[in-house]
């Protein structure tokens, strides 16, 4: 008997039927995988999904953090207060999302603004982590846009850390695998929205198809503009091909106001060079060198010591021995240009 496949979730609060349903996120839906070039073409194209975080509606309550901890069953440490509201103080392998708080005295309006941004994986269309990852299949991208870390394939090298333009992945200290927000791929697979979006009390976090989220954002931006935020806009950075986690910002012209959200993120040229040309050119160079050496060895005459050389050596040593016997002291000194 086949179990019915779960529907694709289109809202954060999607409530699929409660009976068990088969996953709707299949291995064949992977469109890109780290260190794997020749993936078979997917049989179907899932609708692109996105999580939209409306910073202007967020009250910084950390329900998303709490939901994230609960759903993913992570165990972050009880840290100490260091004079800020961020707890834990940074993303960790046990804390995939984090409210970041910025006190901004707006020089134009002279109003204080407390900008609160939920940090976490942006699920780039062009993921730097996936580009950088050396372990085949450790990072995958599904055709719905979710970028997921497959821990079974992860080797914990940390290349994804260098690859990510948003400083997101964290390597687990004991499990030695890279961890980050999965966009709740395990929930999405069975027709539910991400845990954080479901928990968000003000619906500052919403989830749905990317098109719907963009439309929703436009409505919110219009509202913000009416409230005097003329530069309100959507953060869907094209430098990484757009993202599947997007922000509505009151100050879309200055994303970096929001706890250093990159103004124009893209995969670093260094990373691209390293994982692009360098990889192949380097391999080719090494290959050519090795093959060249072998060819030379096979084709060219070896550099062999001749009988003549042996004789000359014999003579040199014998001659020197004679001299040493006669002039023990002088012979110790080297003799330039002696035959």
């Amino acid at each position: 008997m086949t179990t019915e496949r779960a529907p694709q979730p289109t809202t954060a609060a999607a409530n699929p039927p409660i009976q068990p349903m088969a996953s709707n996120l299949l291995p064949s839906d992977v469109v890109r995988a780290s260190a794997m070039r020749d993936l078979p073409a997917p049989e179907r194209q899932l609708t692109k999904v996105a999580k939209l975080i409306d910073v202007s509606r967020c009250i910084g309550c950390k329900a998303c953090q709490s939901a994230c901890i609960e759903w993913n069953d992570t165990h972050p440490d009880v840290e100490e207060n260091v004079g800020v509201y961020e707890n834990p103080h940074d993303l960790t392998p046990e804390m995939f999302t984090l409210m970041r708080f910025t006190e901004y005295a707006n020089p134009e309006t002279h109003e204080l603004e407390w900008l609160i941004r939920k940090d976490g994986c942006m699920h780039c269309e062009d993921p730097g982590c996936l580009t950088a990852c050396p372990a085949p299949g450790a990072i995958v991208q599904y055709s719905n846009g979710i970028v997921d870390f497959i821990s079974d394939n992860c080797i914990g090298c940390g290349y994804c850390v260098a690859g990510c333009p948003f400083d997101i992945p964290r390597i687990h200290k004991t499990a030695h695998v890279s961890k980050k927000c999965t966009l709740c791929s395990d929930r999405v697979a069975v027709g539910q929205g991400p845990a954080c979006a479901k928990a968000c009390p003000t619906q500052a976090i919403v989830f749905g198809t990317k098109d719907e989220m963009i439309a929703h954002a436009e409505m919110r931006i219009e509202d913000l503009k009416e409230r005097g935020y003329e530069k309100a806009g959507l953060y869907d950075p094209q430098g990484v091909g757009g993202t599947h986690v997007m922000y509505v910002l009151h100050h879309a012209d200055k994303p970096s106001l929001y706890a250093d959200l990159p103004d124009d993120p893209k995969i670093s040229a260094v990373v691209k060079g390293w994982k692009g040309a360098a990889k192949d050119v380097g391999l080719a160079a090494m290959g050519i060198a090795a093959v060249g050496a072998m060819a030379h060895g096979a084709l060219a005459r070896a550099n062999e010591v001749s009988a003549h050389d042996d004789a000359e050596a014999q003579e040199m040593v014998a001659h020197a021995a004679e001299r040493l016997a006669v002039e023990p002291q002088e012979a110790a000194r080297p003799q330039e240009g002696a035959p």
Partner: protein, 811 residues
């Protein structure tokens, strides 16, 4: 709440003052975001701190803790001066035209009748002029200088924007901007909602803060209308239920009063509760008091309560003083006047002020019984935890019994939310270990006690021996059994009063509303306002139909709202005098020519004709009150009073300290500090990451906010050499705490009365038990002072000092 959480989406302007809804009520706050999104509503935050609510507000104004009355009276003055008054509403639905007795007056910040000896007012002058017909004298022309309107205008006259700035530290331009935004809601088609919480109640004049806003809402015509109202955001998930069922020393369920010694029998008790209408045709609904009281007494003592014995009235305890509130109990305890204390779901060692006094008080008990799902600090008050609980256990002889109880997720029952919704919930988990429900524990104590009385007798055994206890399992009454009892049922057949040949209710049937309760002993009902929650149709509280055909957020078939499943109180006032909604787009009810009908349950007799019966049926006047008569101990109008510990003197009367009639015991006066020693204003509050002192026991919450801290401005930090994340010592006249310092732009120094006032913010959530780091609470520092009317401790404004402490910054 007069309205409900879901109704907030109907508003045009949200004023969060005396609260921090986004932070302390994040789930309910979603309706504010709904209003912003649906209606383009604006959000104003007035708070000493730029809170998380302020972070999503449209406008923010700072205010000095404890100066809210001045601000609110200032707004009322501005609205009157700028004609921002919904005249039709004010004229017809308030007592503005009523004449007040000539003797009433005020000067030097005090009203007539003050007695310094008793620290109370003789309130006899705070009353209307009553005509020969027994009705209040009025002057519809508003020309009589003794009419409420003229008295109000005179009363608020001093609260100019300059005066507000001087008292509150709110810059004048910000104050005026707030006034303008609020003033727009005087339009009949624009409403403002007030969301407040303990930021207003935890003052020595907390009730008057709320009165101030209620008066402003009346002025704007916003009481009883959709998207309006006075919305108290209750601090616990079921604290509304606690007050509803009368868990106060002076109340019995349904806001009926516990008798006093001066009321030895039932008829004496009832004689002051006739509630005769003060204007013609008015309903004065409290005229039904006797029905509710008799039904309550029948619920208590069943067949033993008879007309002959005053329905068992004499078995009720009689108060010798006004009330035994928390502050008084702990004061008595500290004097050794209490032997045994049952502490049920309560952690006073962290939640009541002047912790030193509390520790001393508990140490004088013979027995302390703590019923709680968690290991509370109160139960461990005798344990030494270094600086966090510096006591000597060898000196404490109190025996402590801990009875572990279930928590809300482990048992069944209803919790009452701020919007008065009784929402049924079911057990989601099995109680751990030996824990039992509170009901099981109380039942077993009762049954053993009753057995002792039976065997050994004793003084006045009747209240115990006669108590009705007809539950299927006497040791463990079910939540449904208790709910049915609160709802009430017919004890014998109840005839229809209009047609005695018909039966209104058959014996044994649940009543469907409090209208069916009787004063002849034929019905019982333990809490009249809950009538209708569990009827013959079943458990109304368990309903979960989220259909809302009107789109007004009424949700008539979702749970049950008291009274009578009404979602907006006073909703008759949402219509004009002829019964048409002020705003047709936001109709709650309307007069259809024959009756009142609409999405909500009308808060008036459905056939009461417009222009005859006033909308405020609980008042004998039928209208609402700008002048509150004798209902408030500290005055019929709110007047500015400084906190007991204040950095500035009261400009209305520099000699006056705090609220002259507030709850204050003589022994605590010596423990008040002044500005010379303690120049900083402290205010306490909650953080979103925690719920009181519960969630520090939960690892996840502990992760999200791990350690006790205080918040100070960058200016104060610089002045005192305090580093961000550094350790500080904060002390008051009553104690000291150590905390981490959060140095922030969100708290700014205020200029009040020409001097700089710094605010120190002290969140509440830490103690010496649980998963989070050990810490303190503001109650170590707070003064043992309570509100004049409801005795809530003055946690929101008192004086402290601060200095850097050993242990360097960690950042």
């Amino acid at each position: 709440m007069t309205n409900s959480w879901t109704d907030i989406k109907n508003t045009d302007l949200v004023v969060v003052m005396g609260g921090n809804a986004a932070e302390a009520h994040p789930c309910g706050f979603k309706w504010v975001t709904e209003a912003k999104q649906r209606r383009g509503a604006k959000l104003i935050v007035v708070d000493p701190r730029f809170t998380r609510t302020a972070s999503v507000s449209d406008y923010y104004a700072p205010i000095r803790p404890g100066s809210d009355i001045a601000f609110l009276m200032g707004v009322i003055r501005w609205c009157i001066a700028n004609d921002k008054v919904q005249w039709d509403y004010v004229r017809n639905y308030t007592n503005m035209a009523y004449l007040v007795r000539e003797e009433f007056g005020w000067s030097d910040g005090m009203f007539t009748g003050y007695n310094e000896e008793t620290r109370s007012y003789d309130q006899s002058s705070w009353e209307y002029q009553i005509g020969e017909d027994g009705y209040v004298l009025t002057d519809e022309t508003l020309e009589n200088p003794r009419c409420v309107w003229n008295l109000l205008k005179a009363h608020v006259d001093v609260y100019t924007p300059e005066f507000v700035e001087r008292i509150c530290g709110t810059p004048k331009d910000r104050f005026l901007k707030v006034c303008e935004m609020i003033g727009e809601c005087a339009s009949p088609t624009k409403t403002m909602t007030s969301m407040y919480a303990l930021g207003w109640t935890q003052h020595s004049k907390g009730s008057q803060n709320i009165r101030g806003m209620a008066m402003l809402q009346l002025l704007l015509g916003n009481i009883g209308v959709a998207g309006g109202g006075m919305n108290a955001l209750r601090g616990h998930s079921n604290i509304q239920g606690l007050t509803d069922v009368g868990l106060m020393s002076n109340l019995i369920p349904g806001y009926l009063a516990i008798p006093t010694e001066r009321e030895p029998d039932f008829e004496t008790y009832m004689s002051t509760r006739a509630n005769k209408p003060l204007r013609p045709n008015q309903m004065s609904y409290w005229q039904n008091y006797r029905k509710f009281m008799v039904s309550f007494l029948k619920a208590m003592w069943g067949p033993a309560a008879t007309a002959e014995n005053g329905w068992g009235y004499e078995w009720l305890p009689k108060l010798d003083i006004a009330q035994y509130d928390g502050l008084r109990m702990f004061d008595m305890m500290s004097k050794g006047e209490v032997n045994v204390y049952f502490c049920q779901g309560f952690n006073p060692l962290l939640s009541f002020p002047n912790r030193g006094k509390l520790t001393e008080a508990f140490g004088k008990l013979k027995l302390l019984v703590v019923m709680d799902p968690l290991a509370t600090e109160t139960a461990a008050f005798w344990e030494n935890h270094g600086i966090y609980n510096d006591v000597d256990p060898s000196k404490i002889q109190t025996e402590v019994l801990e009875l572990p109880t279930t928590c809300f997720a482990e048992d069944e029952g209803a919790t009452v939310n701020s919007g008065r919704w009784l929402q049924w919930h079911w057990a989601g988990a099995t109680p751990p270990g030996e824990s039992q429900t509170d009901v099981w524990i109380m039942s077993n104590i009762f049954l053993r006690l009753r057995e002792l009385y039976r065997k050994e007798g004793g003084k006045a055994p009747e209240p115990i021996l006669n108590l009705t206890w007809d539950y299927a399992d006497p040791e463990d009454p079910t939540a449904a059994e208790l709910a049915k009892e609160l709802n009430g049922r017919a004890l014998t057949d109840v005839p229809d009063p209009n047609d005695p040949t018909k039966l209104l209710l058959q014996a044994g049937k649940q009543v469907s509303s409090f209208g069916q309760l009787r004063d002849d002993g034929t019905t019982m009902g333990a809490c009249w306002i809950y009538a209708g929650c569990f009827t013959e149709a079943g458990n109304m509280m368990a309903r979960r139909d989220n259909e809302d055909p009107s789109g007004m957020g009424v949700y008539q078939n979702w749970s049950f709202a008291w009274p009578a499943n009404r979602r907006v109180l006073y909703n008759r006032a949402s219509c004009d005098l002829d019964g048409n909604p002020w705003d047709p787009e936001r109709k709650l009810i309307a007069w259809d020519g024959a009756k009142w009908a609409g999405p909500d349950i009308p808060d008036i007799a459905v056939t009461a004709k417009p222009r005859e019966v006033g909308p405020f049926i609980m008042n004998p006047e039928g209208v609402s009150r700008f002048f509150s008569r004798r209902l408030m101990r500290d005055g019929p109008f709110p007047t500015h009073m400084e906190p007991f510990e204040s950095p500035v003197a009261n400009p209305l009367n520099p000699e006056m300290r705090g609220n002259p009639v507030a709850r204050m015991f003589p022994g605590d006066v010596a423990q008040l500090g002044d500005r010379s020693e303690f120049p900083l204003v402290a205010t306490s509050y909650r953080l979103t990451e925690h719920f009181h002192y519960w969630t520090k026991h939960n690892k996840v919450n502990a992760v999200l906010q791990p350690e006790f801290f205080v918040e100070i401005s960058e200016e104060l930090a610089a002045e005192r050499g305090i580093a961000k994340g550094g350790r500080v010592r904060v002390w008051s006249k009553r104690g000291e705490v150590w905390a981490k310092a959060v140095v922030t732009k969100r708290i700014r120094p205020l200029i009040c009365d020409g001097q700089t006032v710094h605010v120190v913010g002290i969140p509440i959530h830490w103690g010496f038990k649980g998963a989070a780091r050990k810490g303190f609470g503001p109650n170590t520092l707070g003064p043992f002072v309570g509100d004049a009317n409801i005795e809530t401790p003055e946690f929101k404004a008192y004086l402290v000092n601060i200095e850097p402490a050993e242990g360097s910054a960690t950042s």
